[in-house]
Amino acid sequence: MTVKDLTPAARAAVEQKTIGGGWDGRALVKLMAELERWDNMAEARKARAKKVFIGGIIGSVVGFFLMFVAASVTEEFFWGPPFFLAPLAVMIAGIRMKKAARAIDLPNELRISLRPLLRQLHQDLNPDEKIKVSMNLAGIDEKKCTGTKNLPPGRSKSLTQSAYDEDLCDIRLPLADGSTAVLRMENQYLKLEKRYTSSRGKSKSKTKWKKLSTVTTMLIPPAPIEWAPARVEKLVNRANERMSFPQKDGVTIARMDRYYKFKAADDPPGDAVHGADIVRMFVRLTAMRPQAAGGSR
């Protein structure tokens, strides 16, 4: 699958790493489906690159010793280096493949969060209005660090924390009852680099990643209404969810924020918030509407 196989809209999204403007519901769902296929292909390439890279490392180590064995057996230095250089070339090819796969990779939120969400809410959309989308598909950029600080090192030599922010999306979904559902997703990546001395006296380093995801869902009614938070009060987990009712243009908006934390070693976490979780947040917001504001009757 190459960029040429994509539709113009998907190609633009992959090349520019952004989706913006007003979208028809069906068109956006189709675009997401196409981008999901693209992302699956990128993930498969990443996995293949990793295998090649690991194969290259193992081959290089084995090849290094074989180099001497071959040179001593043949008594000619010429026969030794290929045993080491060939797997080394494979390892370098693996690094390049990984870089290339990363360049075309899209955020996993597209597959895990947004596509399932849009699929499940497509019947709720007002067909006469456009979905306003502002989506950043560039992913984490390690060159754009928003802050570095030294943490108390404890028993290690040093502990450095670098932060990278990612504003993933702002989507406004016009619903069939005239209200607007808003979804905002933000990620903050924290890279923790620890330098320490091992028991044998060697200087070593370890990298850990944390991904803090914030999902904000809002429901903006078409006219001022009285929300009924008591209906879902018991269904809000105060450990990681916040419910609020901000005012804007004379209308009270129901808002729910939910926080997630994902961890991984070496590479940024690939986990993402599940679309079903976001639907559940919207379900709770809609449940607080009075019947007059557009219940099902």
């Binding site: 709720d124 209906r231 879902v232 997630y260 079903a276 379900v283």
Partner: protein, 113 residues
């Protein structure tokens, strides 16, 4: 007669297309699009998703997902009893209350660095 199948996840409303049959299990009037044929006769997507002998399609999958989302609220004062749903919705969704499923991430402290 119009189709009584409730469409939508957040904003539920009847399909509204002309009804051609009725669900043999819940008695709802159904249009052609929302009728699934199976071993118990015609069924709405909701009943078809819950009974064996019916082919699964996009509508039955959607109905099953919606049921899954709303089942934690089934017995709680709020949804059906507070009048958010129509009586048909309440009848379809009022099941014994289930505890809200909590994911692993729920112990997250937002202030933790």
């Amino acid at each position: 007669m119009i189709c009584q199948w409730q469409m939508g996840m957040l904003v539920m409303r009847p399909c509204g297309a002309p009804a051609t049959s009725g669900c043999s299990m819940c008695g709802r009037q159904l249009c052609m699009m929302h009728t699934s044929m199976g071993q118990n006769g015609p069924a709405c997507p909701g009943c078809a998703s819950m009974h064996e002998g019916y082919e699964k399609n996009e509508d039955t999958e959607f109905a099953s997902t919606r049921e899954d989302y709303y089942s934690p609220y089934g017995g709680a004062a709020g949804y059906g009893q507070a009048g958010y749903f129509s009586s048909a919705d309440s009848a379809a969704m009022n099941r014994p209350a289930m505890p809200l499923r909590r994911s692993k991430e729920d112990d997250y402290d937002a202030m933790e660095t």
